[in-house]
């Protein structure tokens, strides 16, 4: 459940992904996302599924929500003690779960703590002053050191609900319909092995970032080195975990605009770069040189969610577009969708307008701003041009 089965390292396989965001400030019920993901039944085999909801704790907007899977009460107690030493806990509660007749126990104990970061964190490698960095460090510390405990999400005003089962079973288990959010991402899995590990399901999340990923990264060994150099600890050993750390590193820590970070992960081919204008060419070349370890090789399509500075959904595929991805908007352009298959979008909005983005080019939708990129533009539109 929360702890990794012995000997398990990586989980290759295919998957389904789906996401939706209300860019005009409205709320979307958990039912909607469950309908989207469960529609793509052929993309899963009951070995893992999950959801992430943003904007689901409007009364506690500014507190970190640390959501955990525990193997037992003891793991919870140890985690709580560890947290008390390092953050101010402002509240905690058992996360509502219910029995699902088709889902075999044991179920993990699901718990969430609301917290505020302390002024600084004294850490063996030196004090950490940035509150976000402190939370990242704590979550990684718990996941690698506290037996039987796993922090599945740690952002503000968001939480991850995931486990080992079909997407409809996980939706039922957490009663996902009881939540309303401004953005939802979801994932269903078709792994080729069966670890039965709840924490290993997707979405993978750190801080306010979450990622749902369909694919297999052939450059994993290289990407892992990069994030480890930056101090991230790979506790899940999935390529998805590495992807999320790369997003966090490039966008939050190195301050790259989102399309620029996306370009580092799925760069243009050199002959195309040669044809760019001088400024873009220089930027593109240096992104390839400096962040060559961030390049995600191999087939993937991903949905990325972020809350800071404003709730944002990013959807993109690899630069050869070896995995499917389709985007859509509602008729009134207030809801933006993205999914592996069109049926997921049609299932919740028969009138939606859909399109496919260019290979490697991100679709970006942000609350308050609407569709920022449709994925058909120049890679540096809005950055250089």
């Amino acid at each position: 459940m929360a702890s990794r089965p012995p000997g398990m390292e990586r989980q290759p396989g295919g998957c389904g992904i789906a996401g939706c965001i209300d860019v005009r400030g409205g709320k979307i019920s958990g039912d909607t996302i469950a309908k989207m993901i469960t529609t793509m039944g052929e993309r899963e085999n009951g070995l893992g599924a999950g959801y992430v909801g943003y904007g689901i704790f409007p009364d506690r907007r500014d507190e970190y929500c640390l959501q955990f899977l525990f193997d037992n009460e003891d793991a919870k107690t140890r985690t709580e003690e560890f947290l008390k030493d390092n953050v101010y806990i402002t509240g905690d509660e058992r996360v509502y779960t219910r029995k699902v007749s088709t889902l075999d126990p044991p179920y993990p104990l699901v718990w969430r703590f609301f917290a505020i970061a302390k002024e600084k964190l004294d850490w063996p490698r030196g004090p950490i002053f940035d509150p976000d960095d402190r939370i990242v460090e704590l979550a990684m510390q718990i996941n690698t050191e506290v037996d039987g405990a796993f922090c599945v999400s740690s952002g503000k005003d968001m939480a991850v609900f995931k486990g080992c089962g079909y997407s409809h079973e996980i939706a039922e288990f957490f009663d996902i319909s009881r939540y309303e959010g401004s953005m939802w991402l979801s994932h269903s899995r078709f792994p080729t092995n069966s670890p039965g590990w709840w924490a290993g399901a997707h979405p993978i999340s750190i801080l306010d970032w979450s990622v749902c990923h369909n694919g297999e990264i052939t450059s994993y060994g290289v990407n892992k080195k990069l994030v480890e150099m930056e101090g991230y600890k790979c506790s899940l050993l999935t390529d998805t975990e590495v992807i999320i750390y790369i997003w966090d590193m490039l966008v939050r820590r190195h301050g790259l605009p989102i399309p620029t970070a996306a370009f580092a992960m799925a760069p243009w081919y050199y002959p195309l770069i040669e044809g760019m204008d001088e400024k873009s060419k220089k930027l593109a070349t240096w992104l390839r040189i400096v962040y060559k370890e961030a390049f995600l090789n191999g087939p993937f399509s991903i949905l990325v969610g972020r809350r800071e500075p404003e709730t944002t959904m990013i959807a993109m595929a690899d630069r050869k577009k070896l995995r499917p991805l389709i985007a859509g908007t509602s008729e009134k352009k207030d809801v933006i969708f993205a999914a592996s298959e069109e049926c997921a979008i049609r299932a919740v909005d028969t009138k939606a307008w859909t399109w496919t983005a260019d290979a490697g080019s991100p679709v970006i939708a942000q609350r308050g701003k609407g569709l920022i990129r449709s994925g058909l533009e120049h890679p540096f539109k809005g950055v250089m041009e």
Binding site: G221, P257, K282, V290, N297
Partner: protein, 492 residues
């Protein structure tokens, strides 16, 4: 062995033999000992009458005191001197390359067809900042910092340092021409650059060795990159040695030393006795070249190479070449060539791990040299952690070298490792250059094939991707040290 029936007594073989093993008198060729098996005579005999066989064992068989040992003892009993040799060691150490197998993509990720899809092999040599700074200026963003001096190459191959002196003018011309054609970088070797080759300077990685022969700021400003040579895999801890016989007028001019004198570089640089001193020399070279080109450091692979490499990056090196113990040489004491250093496979894997642990790996370009024999070796060394494979011996073999290990004598029958005009003229620089071009193009194609099979469409995603290697050798400890899984171990 000469077939008397086929031989027409033309005398060609004796004329071609620069080692004096064949005598042509009274219209008859006789073998008079001293054959190095360079094979030149065989290639030139018009009737295929001459064959070089293993010289029959004149020593009684003994498994411990081998013939090799006894020959060495005899030679030293005669001369009382240090035995010299060249090329890489010929002792049968186990090859680690051959204990490694490559991965390929199946089902869960698709392989890529290199004939139909682009697979990129462009490689950069130089320092990387590890972080780009892009700032908003007005409405648009601008790249503020993070770029630097860097050289672009079309493939992850570099021609290593082969100095003019150890090899002939024609040989170096061929190597530089090949580098130009391939859009890769070639090492100058110790001793500066001959004025005739200044037009190749933008493809030259100029070596600054302990002797500082031929190094001037004017020259340094023209080249693509500068590399401080601390050590060489064939002779770690040892300086350069160019025998006096090879120091002709031409060599004396490029190296700026008197004709006919031995060119002996000191063992250490006499201004580098510590890592701080190295840092100073790196800074001086960067100053001298206006920060316009990458400055690297070359070291031999030795036991503590991980920590040494990390020190070198901290000292400011933009790139670093690690030279394995099998690396070639034009002349080295045999005892060092055969017994000092460690294999490049292990060295690269440990350096890559160490630099990653210390957060330095993305600041430096890592080049591996030391007897890369084939594209397979090149691919494996890249997967073990190298950005670039630096190749010498294979390029020479492409030009005709038979690896006879007698370069130090300066009478190479193939016109490669020699300064004698009559021998050097045997090598046609155009043909030799094309041979090297063909070889590396072929290797690069094979690299593309393998990358495609692995489902990787750009070579940088293979660098240090040890996940895609498996160990099949007899010693699991080796796999552990290199951080490579054993065959049979999957991902999950």
């Amino acid at each position: 062995m000469i077939d008397e029936e086929l031989c027409i007594n033309c005398g060609k073989c004796a004329k071609e033999c620069s080692f004096g093993a064949l005598d042509f008198k009274e219209k008859k060729v006789r073998y008079q000992g001293g054959c190095v098996a360079c094979g030149r005579c065989m290639s030139f005999c018009p009737t295929s009458a001459i064959m070089v066989n293993d010289v029959p064992n004149i020593f009684p068989h003994h498994p411990w005191f081998t013939e090799r040992d006894r020959r060495a003892i005899a030679a030293q009993a005669r001369s009382g001197g240090v035995l010299l040799s060249s090329c890489g060691t010929d002792l049968p150490y186990r090859s680690i390359y051959d204990d490694l197998l490559l991965d390929a993509a199946q089902v869960t990720n698709p392989s890529i067809d290199p004939l139909r899809e682009p697979i990129e092999t462009r490689t950069y040599l130089g320092r990387r900042s590890g972080k780009l700074c892009i700032e908003k200026r007005g409405k648009k963003y601008e790249l503020v910092s993070g770029d630097g001096a860097i050289v672009s190459m079309d493939m992850p191959i570099m021609i290593g340092h082969i100095s003019l002196g150890s090899v002939s003018y024609n040989t170096q011309k061929a190597l530089f021409t090949a580098a130009e054609h391939l859009n890769i970088v070639a090492g100058s070797g110790e001793g500066g650059l001959h004025p005739d080759f200044f037009n190749f300077a933008h493809r030259i990685n100029s070596e600054v060795a302990s002797g500082r022969f031929g190094v001037t700021p004017e020259y340094l400003k023209r080249v693509a990159a500068v590399e401080i040579k601390i050590g060489q895999g064939a002779k770690p801890g040892h300086g350069g040695h160019l025998p006096g016989e090879k120091v002709t007028e031409m060599i004396s001019q490029t190296r700026m030393i008197p004709e006919g004198t031995d060119a002996l570089s000191p063992y250490p640089h006499h201004d580098i006795y510590s890592i701080e001193d190295l840092q100073q020399l790196i800074s001086v070279l960067k100053e001298a070249t206006d920060y316009q080109m990458p400055v690297g450091v070359k070291v031999a692979a030795v036991h503590n190479i991980g920590a040494i490499a990390s020190g070198i990056v901290r000292a400011g090196a933009d790139f670093m070449t690690i030279d394995g113990f099998r690396g070639g040489t034009g002349s080295a004491p045999r005892v060092i060539r055969d017994h000092a250093g460690i294999p490049i496979e292990v060295a690269i894997a440990t350096v890559d791990q160490k630099l990653t642990e210390e957060g330095l790996r993305n600041k430096v370009t890592l080049c591996a040299s030391g007897s890369v024999r084939s594209s397979a070796d090149m691919i494996k060394i890249i997967a073990l952690g190298a950005d670039v494979a630096s190749v010498c011996t294979a390029a020479m073999v492409a030009m005709g070298c038979r690896v006879c290990q007698h370069c130090h004598m300066g009478i190479c029958a193939w016109g490669i490792a020699t300064q004698k005009v009559e021998l050097a003229s045997r090598l046609d620089p155009k043909i030799a250059a094309m041979s090297v071009v063909n070889l590396f193009r072929a290797w690069n194609e094979e690299l593309r094939e393998v990358l495609g099979a692995m489902g990787i469409d750009s070579v940088e995603s293979l660098v240090g991707n040890r996940d895609r290697l498996r160990y099949v050798g007899p010693n699991p400890k080796m796999a552990e040290v290199m951080d490579v899984k054993h065959v049979g171990e999957g991902w999950g």
